[in-house]
């Protein structure tokens, strides 16, 4: 089956009364990658995921998983694992009983419940009631539930929200490992910086419309290469040497130079060869945030005024 592991969204539209949450959205998510599903809050990410999972009906268009509608899946947890909201738990139930009840509905046995608890590092708290769990522990429990059926497709809605730095690092490695096993991993976020580190492919939406569907590396490329910031008491002389090498120099307001087309090592060597002192030499990454904001800037629903209230 060639569709195995694919998530295919075609012409998907969802209206809530006068509000169009998802607007003629089409994309395909491939196996073997961590795909970031990016957009500002309210862009329609969660609605799209709910439609893929059969929880909400589209106004038009369709969403297929492995070539089939979600509600046609016989043992859905063995096809798709999903975490939409980590806090969606009955607080009085233990982690173990929660997972057993979910697993049982798809004919999944207790050995697998034990295994996913181990994979997510929750063995020690398995018999505790979940209302005592931190948000990070609930995220892990949600991921454990998503892994129960050992599915080829995994979907996570804002999984890093509320995680501490250690948890975020753990979850990144976890997603990469799942993708490396050939699984389809779709991770939504409103944070470009997070997705730049987690995802190797990006689907970016705003106001329910597709804005970009491209490899993360391509977005970095399109956002322009990085530059090097330097300060020197003989800045003008150095600028001449650098432009002679074919690089571009821009003088900053504070007298520093921004150089593109020559890396920090080459600039340092050049200055040393002429005995020019350098007071600062700072390579700067291209700002992915800027590239992202350029894409989504028009589509933000809630925007601050930019000035403090009077």
């Amino acid at each position: 089956m060639t569709d195995a592991g694919l998530i295919e969204v075609t012409g998907l539209t969802k209206r809530f009364g006068p509000v169009t949450a998802v607007d003629d959205l089409s994309f395909t998510v491939q196996p073997g990658h961590v795909t970031g599903f990016l957009g500002p809050n309210g862009a329609g990410k969660t609605t799209t995921m709910r439609i893929i999972l059969g929880l909400a009906a589209p106004t038009s268009g369709r969403a297929l998983v492995g070539g089939r509608r979600y509600d046609a899946l016989i043992r859905p947890l063995r096809e798709v694992g999903a975490l939409l909201d980590a806090t969606a738990l009955h607080g009085g139930r233990t982690a173990w009983m929660h997972l057993v009840s979910v697993a049982r509905s798809n004919g999944i046995g207790r050995p697998r419940v034990t295994e996913v608890l181990r994979l997510t590092g929750l063995e020690a708290v398995a018999n505790r009631r979940v209302n005592g769990f931190s948000l990070g522990m609930k995220q892990r429990l949600g991921i454990a539930a998503a892994l129960l059926g050992d599915p080829p497709v995994l979907m996570f809605d804002e999984p890093v929200n509320g995680l501490d730095p250690e948890g975020i690092r753990w979850i990144r490695g976890f997603f990469s490992a799942l993708a490396a096993q050939g699984r389809t991993v779709l991770v939504s976020s409103h944070l470009m910086s997070e997705m730049a580190l987690t995802a190797d492919h990006l689907i970016i939406i705003g106001r329910g419309r597709l804005l970009a569907d491209l490899p993360t590396a391509a977005l970095i490329e399109s956002s322009g290469r990085g530059d090097v910031l330097l300060r020197s008491p003989r800045a003008a002389e150095l600028a001449g040497l650098i432009t002679a090498r074919g690089a571009a120099v821009t003088r900053q307001d504070d007298g520093a130079l921004a150089v593109t087309g020559l890396d920090a090592a080459a600039i340092g060597d050049l200055a040393a060869a002429r005995g020019i002192a350098l007071h600062a030499l700072v390579p700067r990454q291209a700002s992915l945030e800027d590239a992202y904001l350029d894409l989504t800037g028009e589509s933000v629903d809630y925007r601050g005024e930019g000035t403090a209230p009077q």
């Binding site: 195995a4 999972l53 859905p76 939409l84 009983m97 979910v102 539930a145 080829p152 490992a177």
Partner: protein, 275 residues
């Protein structure tokens, strides 16, 4: 600290296994709902209240009946104590029925449930099987225990009836289904309304309707009251049915029609609405 290397590859697993039969899937769903039911404390407490309260109350009511002098007027129906007391238990199990869905909607757990089982009507059916079985067993336990205790009290005053008397076993059995009927009504209204407070208010409202209808002047109290749930319950379980209501047979149909109609509406709405 942890790795995913221990999981097998997805392609190795999904191929070659025959799809499970409908019966297997039904058993799995019921087992899942049973696990949910028994793993929260509220189930235990609701059942305890539903079982202990009516047994105690029916015995108490029997004592009061028995202590009335013979000159006080016509004797109340000898089976009335247990029916009256079961009406207390109805509140506890109705709430339990409402919570089966409303608790999942309020926490968001319903999304996990319907993601694991996209055939939502099957989930409704599985919850009905679990709650229905438990409350039917509890109801019959209460009905027969209350019967024997209250009749033992009444017998001491020569007012009791024996289980061997015609009509009595049927009336006691019918009393036992009241808890199940009200739980199913709560389950359906919890699924339709999706909010705990609203679901409970609606369920109690439907159950307590006869208290309002009873205030209507005759013959309207009977003409409308015969369709009320608790009036029908009393008619089914009475040894001497009231003349202005439906016959016990028809009243049994009324009793069952309430949860059946509510479940039918729930089954229609459950697949039409977004979660």
């Amino acid at each position: 600290m942890t790795s995913v290397t221990a999981t097998d590859t997805p392609t190795a697993r999904s191929a070659g296994t025959a799809p499970p039969s409908l019966a297997t899937r039904a058993v799995d769903l019921v087992a899942s709902e049973w696990t949910k039911f028994r793993s929260v404390r509220s189930s235990f407490w609701s059942l305890l209240v539903a079982v202990v309260t009516p047994i105690a109350v029916s015995t108490f009511v029997a004592f009061i009946f028995a202590s009335q002098p013979a000159s006080a007027g016509p004797r109340p129906d000898p089976l009335l104590p247990e029916v009256v007391s079961l009406e207390y238990a109805v509140i506890a199990v109705s709430v339990m029925g409402v919570l089966a869905f409303s608790a999942e909607y309020s926490t968001g757990l319903i999304r996990t449930t319907f993601t694991a089982a996209p055939r939502r009507r099957a989930v409704l059916a599985a919850k009905a099987v679990v709650l229905g079985t438990v409350t039917l067993a509890a109801g019959e336990l209460v009905a027969f225990t209350s019967f024997f205790l209250s009749q033992a009290v009444l017998a001491g005053h020569h007012q009791g009836v024996s289980l061997s008397r015609p009509g009595v076993p049927g009336a006691v059995l019918a009393a036992g289904i009241l808890l199940c009927v009200c739980t199913m009504l709560g389950l359906a209204l919890g699924s339709i309304i999706r909010h705990t407070a609203g679901g409970i208010a609606a369920t109690i409202g439907v159950i307590l309707l006869p208290a309002i209808l009873g205030l209507l002047p005759a013959p309207w109290n009977g003409r409308i009251g015969r369709f009320a749930l608790l009036e029908a319950a009393q008619q089914v379980t009475a040894l001497h049915p009231a003349a202005n209501l439906f016959s016990p047979g028809l009243s049994l149909l009324v009793l069952l029609a309430w949860p059946a109609a509510a479940l039918a509406v729930a089954a229609i709405l459950i697949i039409r609405r977004d979660i």
